[in-house]
Symmetry: C2
Subunit: 149 residues, 2 copies
């Protein structure tokens, strides 16, 4: 965790957001990353996402089962969902979402949005062409040599 | 949307997941991507995330305000959160999450997890060293030349 916090501090001086994350497997660090949203022009480049990508490259897998994540701040809904997709076992965090909100990072807004029924969310959505898209899903279902995840 | 669906079909033949996404600004396509989770060993490489990354690189920004997204399938919680962080205006989708669940992609599990109180979630979490991490947030607050997002 101290490394994750150090990365969050270093990131500030480098011009990134104040967040760091470290992934550990079997007691060894497999990834250590910082927020790169503004530096990389990538709104998905949160520290946790960067660390997941790095760990997957290093371990040559898309499945981080058996790994734990240390985040200098409580993961936002995007990062938490990414951690589920990556099958992270469990995680530790230092600052929490209220601390983040106090310095201008309001993950709470996204949590509230996800909690709302779809028709009440801030981001309008329209379903269309479902029949055409279902053909792709049918093809996926029928394919015998696919890599599932 | 037809391009997003075509990308989802092409992705299956390329060995990727059956998902495509397209981002449009002022009536012009600025990004068109497919799921690359298994091909890139990146569990965050959903079509929507790939399209957001591509659009941000092309437009040289981390803010996609004024853009709309076309997804061949209803975005999962990770992608939806990423779309909020990217300030996507609104989106269109074809297959929905029930269609995805039927072919083995169960985003519903993550939605259920996010809905639960933290202590009841499947992924255990522990807060630690908050006092040390708060120093980084204080530094961020005090920094006058930071890039906020």
């Amino acid at each position: 965790m101290r490394l994750a916090i150090d990365l969050s501090k270093k990131s500030i001086e480098e011009g990134g957001g104040p967040f760091g994350a470290v992934i550990v497997k079997d007691g060894e660090i497999v990834a250590a990353a910082a927020n790169r949203v503004t530096l990389h022009n990538d709104p998905t480049a949160h520290a946790e996402v960067m660390a997941i990508r790095e760990a997957c490259q290093k371990l040559n897998t898309f499945d981080l089962s058996g790994c734990e994540l240390y985040a200098s701040c409580e993961p936002c809904p995007m990062c938490l969902s990414a951690m589920y997709w990556a099958h992270i076992d469990h995680f530790y965090y230092a600052n929490d979402k209220n601390d983040a909100a106090k310095i201008g990072f309001d993950d709470a807004f996204i949590y509230e949005e996800l909690d709302k029924p779809q028709e009440k969310r801030n981001m309008p959505r329209v379903q269309m062409l479902r029949d055409e898209a279902l053909k792709a899903f049918k093809r996926w279902e029928e394919k015998t040599d696919k890599t599932e995840y």
